[in-house]
Symmetry: C2
Subunit: 338 residues, 2 copies
């Protein structure tokens, strides 16, 4: 069944069928209904329409990610692409950068390419301001939208994410229970997962009876060297005995600072990264880090997507628990942490 | 001018125009010629055709890369995407993996999405076996093809690459001139740039009068830990005083090996990475490395592409020279190396 058959069956021109499918141009309501009922009857889809024109758009999934040079996002993209291919789907990826307008534009581009579904990779796609997420809700009216490591409520939106709150809460608690008294948490941005991590850290500090002046958090949006320099400046006013970070790059910056100041790690200072990326294996000692189960999360995202495309019921949210990887920058008894 | 105008002007149905554009279905030769001459007369393009159907395909560049989880390739993708956007182009990226059939399939997919040009990122797209590059030559008959860090000769193929041969030749020479006597070169694969690097290393060793038994190279396709373990096994039979590597990850593996064996770096053993990636900043001492000017190379690739799309003359090959970044794992007088 292709567009020619539809037009023949409806007794209208192909242009009319095309206008109905694209909701563009004038078509009488009666004709519109007639075409739509034939389409429904025959199971014909706009994808098949595009294929009929030689534009092969079937079995293609769009992937949006902010920044492929972020090693964490880059790994996710690769895992998703490989997983989708094993299910017979091709992927089209757009790297959007962090600008809101660009994200929106790229989602539109993927829709115009008639992808079967879209995966948004990274929590930075979900903004605190509800209005800014409108374009995602609109896309979800057309095709299933999977969000990896973010959460947004909406029809046909399915989220696969790590319990970042619990990961930060449990590890902070363990540090404090082991005798650490002056924790610092370093983060980059308050995306959905960024907020969850910070809340987990602060709640754990309060739960363990720390006073507001005894625990600190700071936003450092920079490289390894910038994190190190930031700590140089901060250290004059405060000293800390444990630094938790929102990613491994920042953890390594903290380790560099400790080394340049002759602070013994982990004896005087424990350092914990996040993401269990390749970077955490490069430093010496190797960085203890939180593994947010990216590989599982990607596998899960793909199975949500396949189910959604097959019209099966899909849970709106799947939350995986993180795992602590104890290496050389912590000596707390962490093995049973999470 | 859109497909409706073409069909009106030709006095035929849209379906007929579509069949001519897609070279599918039966159309009489007279009608075909009539439509083609109107198309030529009006400057109408298949892209505009697709746009007329609501498929916005103009100003979109396809990017193919083997593996976005490789930090070097991931950075290139990001730089290209940002650069293209500043020129008003969107990008569609496909991560192909290393399988030849998948690379071909994805290039076909991008062509079917009617991209204006394609950028192949990474030298692994150009195979030693000429037959395996046929699909690239065929794509270049339709649209301009830019190859980043690889070289393939062909009409409408434009290559932006780093002089990997000279980078390895010059650095090896400098190590030997400074008194190192037992060099080892570690590589992953013999892609185009892989071959150039190995040849640069071997030629420099021969040029400086080393005997064949005095210099070694080995293929290690593995992680940091696997590189370290590989060296453990190799070291029993040989010892080396300088290790050059094809990427920073391997350089860090060599550094880990040296540390676990109590070998002093750089005093007893010099280590040189390649790519100047983020990884090289994570270890301690930081890794000396070769900067193959990725950022320049991406900027250059984009300007080749823009010129090609505008019909300007474009050089088939642009070769940039590399730059040595001397950090803590070398003590040779490198500052004026390259």
């Amino acid at each position: 069944m292709n567009i020619y058959d539809i037009s023949k069956k409806a007794g209208v021109s192909i242009a009319t069928v095309s206008r109905v499918l694209n909701e563009s141009g004038k078509v009488s309501e009666a004709t519109r209904q007639k075409i739509l009922s034939i389409i429904e009857e025959t199971g014909y889809t706009p994808n098949a329409f595009a294929r009929g024109l030689g534009l092969n758009t079937m079995n293609t999934i769009g992937i949006l990610c902010a920044d492929s040079s972020d090693p964490y996002l880059a790994s996710a993209i690769y895992l998703l692409e490989q997983g989708l291919r094993s299910h017979g789907y091709d992927s089209l990826l757009c790297c959007t950068g962090y600008d809101h307008a660009a994200k929106k534009k790229y989602l539109d581009l993927l829709l115009s390419k008639r992808v079967d579904a879209v995966i948004l990779v990274g929590s930075n796609f979900v903004e605190a301001e509800a209005e800014k997420n409108q374009y995602i809700l609109e896309a979800a009216q057309e095709i299933p939208v999977i969000i990896l490591n973010g959460y947004l409520e909406g029809e046909q939106i399915y989220c696969s994410l790590c319990d970042d709150y619990e990961a930060l809460h449990a590890s902070t608690r363990r540090f404090l229970e082991s005798g650490r008294k002056r924790p610092l948490y370093l983060y980059r941005a308050l995306s959905y997962s960024g907020q969850r991590k910070l809340a987990g850290f602060e709640d754990a500090c309060r739960d363990l009876g720390l006073q507001r002046e005894d625990f600190h958090s700071a936003c450092v949006n920079g490289s390894i060297a910038e994190t190190r320099d930031f700590l140089e400046a901060l250290w004059e006013k405060n000293s800390f005995d444990v630094i938790l970070t929102c990613d491994d790059e920042m953890g390594i910056g903290a380790l560099k600072f400790a080394r340049s100041h002759g602070i013994s790690v982990p004896h005087e200072l424990s350092i914990l990264g996040y993401n269990n990326s390749k970077l955490a294996l490069c430093c010496d000692p190797e960085l203890s880090t939180i593994d947010n189960q990216l590989s599982f999360s990607c596998t899960n995202a793909i199975s949500l997507l396949i189910r959604a495309l097959e019209g099966e019921p899909v849970p709106a949210r799947t939350v995986l628990s993180a795992k602590l990887i104890a290496r050389g920058t912590t000596d707390e008894p962490f093995f049973s942490l999470i």
